[in-house]
Amino acid sequence: MKAAITSTGNTLDSLLDQHFGRCQYFVVYDTDSKSIEFLPNPFKTMEEGAGYSVVQLLVSKGVNKVISGEFGLKVKPILDSHKIQMIIIKDPNKRINGILELLNHY
């Protein structure tokens, strides 16, 4: 299982980015191999269609779960059509390492 977490920075103590399409980084975490990859979001300044491009990128990485503070109305059906599960954490103080710890129950 691969999860992508939106992150404000490229370190494990970075905060969860509250925006999905325009986040700074994606942390791609493979729960099987425990590998962690920090992926800068190349679409964060894109004026339109950022969500669509981001989903294509994550699909190409084999991601099947996304974790963020919120998902926009436009991006939700795109994620749904790829059967990618959305997980929302409504806590702006949540850090990446804390989320990885939660995911380690797998």
Partner: protein, 197 residues
Amino acid sequence: MSPKLKVLRRVSGPPPIKGFRPYGEATNHRIADPVNLLYEEYEALRLSDYERLNHHQASVVMGVSRPTFTRIYARALQKIASAFVEGRQISIEGGKIFFDSDWFRCADCSCYFNNPEKDKPVEQCPLCGSQQVSGFEMEKTSGTRPSEVSYDECVCTVCGFEIPHQPGKPCNQEICPQCNGAMRRKKVLEFSHQKKS
């Protein structure tokens, strides 16, 4: 042209396949030019001729007006007919639709999550693994913002009678208290701005 409001149609789930390919002679040169069946056209056909709902019932399930349903359905048939007659592939993709997935909340880590694999029941939190999960309604008009307000109702596909939806209980297991007809989930329509139709 000013941006038009376009209704997103509700589709229960993506089709299990991406399309069809013809076989036999005189088909190969057509392979590069498929007929594109939109998700909502696939869904109209599925509801009408696979689940055998009438057009009124199917329009209720998809959350569109009956004339709109009839138009989508007619387009689906017309596309499939041209694929058959002209020996073209059918690709099933695109369309102004949203897939309907239910939302849940974890009482342990307080996350919200949806269930894209509708056939599999939700047994645990996908984040922390806790089994303290319960159904939750998302506010449909503002993306995935959690909301205490439920917009969902079960609607009778026969007489249109509505009862509030019980989270965690599929509407199609409910029986209409008015006429004993089959109930379906009714959703408030989602709107999105689209540049072109």
